[in-house]
Every structure is written in C-alpha cells, then in structure tokens.
Amino acid sequence: MTDAMIGLVALPLAGALATLLLPRLATVVAIGTGLATTVAAGLLLFGFATQGALHYEIGGWSAGLGIALRADALSALLLMMTALVALAASVYASAYFKGTFERARFWPLWLLLLTSLNALLLSGDLFNLYVTLELLGLSAVALASLGGKRAAVAAALRYLLVGLLGSMLFLSGVSLLYAGYGTLDMAQLARTVSAGPVAWTALALMTAGLLLKTALFPLHFWLPPAHASAPAPVSAVLSALVVKAAFYLVLRLWLDVFADVVTAAAANLLGVLGAGAVLWGSWHALQAERLKLLAAWSTVAQLGYLFLFFPLLQALPPGAARELAAGGLVMLALTHGFAKAGLFLAIGIIQQRCGHDTIRGLDGTAQRLPATTFAIALAGVALIGLPPSGAFLGKWQLLAGAVETGQWLWLVVTASGSLLAAAYIFRVLGHAFGHRPYPSQPVTVAREEWPALLLASMAALVLGLAGAPVWGLLEIGT
C-alpha cells in the first residue's frame, strides 16, 4: 500500500506537468489524474483498514535525513475527502472554464495544489510540512488571483502576505525545536519533547503561524475577501480543503507531538477563540449581501467549531469518551469539507446563470435551477448540523463532551451558532423560492449540478447514515 502513498503525490505532480506541456488535452488529463488520485486514496484507506498505520521512507533514507511519508486514520480520511472534493470540483471546473483563456493557467496550478495538499497530509516531518505549506499557499494564491479583477488580485496578495507571515512563524518554531531536540521527525519529537520554555515557545510560534493560515478568529480578516472573489471551483477547494490543511497541522501538533506540553489554559484559549469565530462568523454570514461572502463567513464559523474540541479533548481522560469526542471532531471536519465545497459549486452555478450572486436577487432560483437549490439546501442541512448529516454526529459528540466535562459555555456557543446557521441558510432558501413555474427537468446543467449535488449529499446523508465505518477506522488508529 506504500505505492498508493507515492501515487498520491506523484500522480497529481505528473498531471500538473502534463497539463502545462499539453494545454489542449489539459481537461482530459486533469480529470484522469483526479480519478487516479481518488483510486490511490481509496487504496490507501483500504490499506490502512487492513494493515493499520502506514509508513514509507523515500529512497530508503531514514527519518531525520530523508523524507518519511506516514498515514494514519486522520490523514487517510482527509486524503479521501481531498480526492473526492477535488475530483468533483475538477468535473465542475471543466465546464466552468470551458472556452475561457484562464483554462490553460488553471489546470497546472490546480493539480499542483492537489499535490501539495496530499504531500502535506502524508508528511511526517516538520520541515517537509513547512515546504508543503508554502507550496500549498503559493498555488492557492495563484489560483485565487485567476479572476484577474482588481478585487481578486488585491485579496490574493493579502492572502499571500498573511500566508508568508504564517509560514515564517511556523519555520521559526521549527528551528527552535531542532535547536532543542535535534530532530524534526514528528514521531521522534513526540517521544522526546518535554514541557519547558523551548517547547512552549516553539508551540506558540508554530500555532500562531498556523492559526493565521487556518483563519481562526480574530486572524480571519483575510479569508472572506480571498474566498469570495476567487473563481467558484477555487473557492470550493480553498474553503473545504486548504484552510483545513493548516487546521490538520494544529491538530497533529497539539494532540500528537506536544500532547504532554499542552496545558488546560492554552487549550481553553483555543476554545475561546473558536467560540468567537462561531459567533462572529455566523453573525457576518447572516448579514452578508452576497452568497459567496455568506459561504466564506460560514467557513470562519465552521472552523470555530473544530477549535471548541480542544478544551474538551484536553479535559477528558484517555478512554471511550475522549475517543468519541476525537471522532466527532474528524466527522465535523469531513462534513464541512464536503458541504462547503458543494455550497460554493452551487453558488458558482447561480452566479454564472444569473450573472450575480446577491441574496436579494435570488427570486425564483428554485424554479429555474431546482437541482442547484436542492444542493444548497442539502449543504445547509450539513452546515446547520441537522440529522442525518455528519455534522449532527460531530456536534452531538461536542455537546456530549461539554456535558461530560462540565464546560457549559461550549454548549451555549454550539447551540447559538447552529441557530444562526439555520437563520442564514433559510434566508437564502427563502429568497430562492419565488413564484415561478417549475421546469420539467430538475437537473438543467448536468456537468455542473451533479458535482455540487453529490458533494452536498455526501455531507448531509452519506457521512451521517454510513458513519460507522469511519468511526471503525478511527479506532484502528489508536
């Protein structure tokens, strides 16, 4: 199964080069690459389910000097989500960019983004993580600026500067760790790191850098303009996957590498920032005039929920309750990935068909684009956290953990955030249902509507109803 790990990085990289050299065949090559990457991610998930955690040393160089690839439950699941979301968004993008001159620039960057995401999720070494973070940031910025409009370029530049600042903070933490412990391998560090000034400073620097990149309140200021002005398939991947890559690293650092160093006060601080993100992000989503801004602010809020888990995981003793809370966290992250990608694709369809994405101007969209509106509703079910979505399972574990540890504040925040989410989703749906005759066919633009529909139903139905296997996989990992 180590072949699958290499394939996950090598396939999209080869695809990126191929699309650069053969711009005429770019769409075919890119979708073929997306399919092959999805197969590789599936094989990796299967390999993990049968053999447990996977490990590979590139070129036979041992960890420390060489590049080690690792995959456990968390990374295997996130890789699968990345592959599926990227594949759906690729199909959508093939229609979105058809006949435009951005097409030739889009595919190489897109596949490079996929390469760096996969490499980041597989990497077991802090310096390689820094490199993949930078590659991810650079390709994401270039994609976000593709629209070429002034607002898009300005937002992309701000995104780039924030990302670079975050990377530099991360790298200074990495240097401190190397000075203190003489290794950058995460597994080795997890065994040797002990609480003290070096570990605290390094963790603080690296976390600050990553929080900037994952746009946790109050460091979220760059996200709404950047995500709202990018082309639709790019926004989908930025919101669903790219911010989550930085979050994945925070999770790895706090729960694996620095598990003995993290204090309750620090975890509570992350929780408080997460609560701020939930309330502030949802409130702004409710105020948004444009659909894309609504989706972007909702990303700020949804990332906040993920940080509410940190104080719970810190307070819960190792055991079944903690496993469930950790599973809920992963479930919420996966659901948000699918739901937000589906939502952005659906918004892109509306923007292209109607020429605008203002919420007030949605009148009658449900009659013109029934499948698109349905996709928005399904994604909304997942964002609110209604059953049977995966987010319902995730939030349930969040609430259970809050009750278990007596941290009632998070319960209040989750409930208010969900109510606000319901308000902003129903505000969109309310405008979408005007009084116009219904067309004979619900799916009107198949190549664009199906990816959005499938992603949204993955979030709202599949992850919730078929959540048991995911939970099983997470148990293998421990």
Partner: protein
C-alpha cells in the same frame, strides 16, 4: 566559543522580531514584502547558528540544507508577491 553561537542565534531572533514588527505595522505593500523577507533572513540566521557544533566538529549539515530550501521557497514567494503587486499597480494606473 558557545557565546559566539548564542550571539548569532540571538541576533537571528532580533531580526525575526524586527521583520515581524515591520510586516505588521507597515502599510505600504513593498515595505511589508521586504519586512517578511527580513524575517526570513532572521530565521535562516538562527538555523545557521543552530548548526554550529564547536571548533572540532564540522557544522551540522541538516540545518544548512533547510536554509537552502528555505531560501528557494522565500525567493519564489517574493517573486509571486512582487508580480501580484505589479499587476495591482498597473491596474491602479489604468483607472
């Protein structure tokens, strides 16, 4: 000889702090891009200081490799930032 190493490491930290201050406080775009580069130089200096292992031993090659990679990444990122800034500037002139 340890003091030389600490001197270099501390200088690196000071440069990082100066760069960070510049990146956060300067409003002008070019100044912020330069400030982030200054911050990078500080981190690289810190890594070079970390590599020192006394006069008898050769320096640790790993941090040197990291610095080289870091410089390549920083140069590419700066190029992208400058290209975007130019694009923005050109559009401003059109208006």
């Amino acid at each position: 000889m340890l003091t030389t190493q600490i001197l270099y490491a501390l200088t690196g930290c000071v440069i990082v702090a100066l760069g960070l201050r510049g990146a956060l406080l300067h409003a002008a775009l070019l100044q912020r891009i330069v400030a982030i580069n200054v911050m990078g130089a500080g981190v690289f200096m810190l890594l070079v200081a970390v590599a020192y292992r006394g006069p008898e031993l050769p320096p640790d090659p790993l941090p040197h490799a990291l610095v080289l990679t870091g410089i390549v990444v920083a140069v590419s990122a700066t190029a992208l930032a400058l290209a975007l800034a130019r694009h923005l500037h050109a559009e401003q002139d059109d208006d």
